[in-house]
């Protein structure tokens, strides 16, 4: 257990923030790209709601 605890700090220090950001950016880009390309059931780039127009009553 102590050995695990001793390994945690070096393991955290070994993580490279630039690589972490790159991985997150790639995953985010792929997710957003797929959502954008999806024709229906979009979650982020949802299509605008239909606009209701008031039609004047015909005389």
């Amino acid at each position: 257990m102590r050995r695990v605890a001793d390994s945690l700090f070096p393991a955290f220090r070994a993580v490279r923030p630039a690589r972490l950001l790159a991985v997150l950016a790639v995953a985010g880009g792929m997710g957003l790209g797929c959502d954008w390309l999806r024709s229906e059931q979009r979650l982020v780039f949802s299509r605008p709601l239909p606009v209701f127009r008031i039609v004047e009553p015909s005389r």
């Binding site: 695990v4 390994s7 945690l8 070096p10 393991a11 955290f12 070994a14 993580v15 490279r16 690589r19 972490l20 991985v23 997150l24 790639v26 995953a27 985010g28 792929m30 997710g31 957003l32 797929c34 959502d35 059931q41 979650l43 982020v44």
Partner: protein
């Protein structure tokens, strides 16, 4: 390389591939059904705004896929193994909080097409804990491997 070190190395490779395949499968199934995954996230009652949940439902499956592939080919190991630990820890935390609060949720970890027993919270939590343990082992293994032979025995 001694027999013990070779055996430890092959065990690491097997666990890496297994974890990678699980992440790719889980992420792939969720990425194919993002709307259902979003509904599962809403059911967990995490308390995040809906816009965040939508972003998570779109991006998290792809993070799993990217991490799974990178884990399989051992690309940027010190970072990817940390991502794997983070993902597994989030799964455990979200499932555990839902169970503690008594929420009736389906796991949704592998998309909507999995059988009912596979989505049972207890089974899902056990699976997530196993993933977390394997991820932590791989992550710390990487550090001890790069530290030299004294810690690698």
């Amino acid at each position: 390389m001694t027999t013990g070190a070779r055996s430890s190395r092959s065990r690491e490779v097997y666990i890496r591939w297994l974890l990678g395949m699980v992440l790719v499968a889980a992420g792939g199934f969720k990425a194919a059904h993002p709307v259902e995954f979003h509904a599962d996230l809403v059911a967990y009652g995490i308390g995040l705004p809906d816009a965040w949940l939508r972003g998570t439902a779109v991006m998290l499956p792809w993070l799993e896929v990217v991490a799974g592939i990178a884990l399989g080919v051992d690309f940027w190991p010190e970072t990817i193994r940390f991502v794997s630990v983070g993902l597994s820890a989030v799964f455990v935390a979200v499932l555990a909080q839902a169970m503690v609060r008594g929420l009736e949720v389906r796991c949704g970890c592998f998309g909507p097409l999995t059988p009912g027993w596979f989505n049972e919270p207890w089974f899902a939590l056990g699976r997530a804990l196993s993933l977390l343990a394997a991820s932590i082992w791989l992550w710390l293994k990487r550090v001890s491997s790069s530290a030299g032979p004294a810690l690698n025995a």
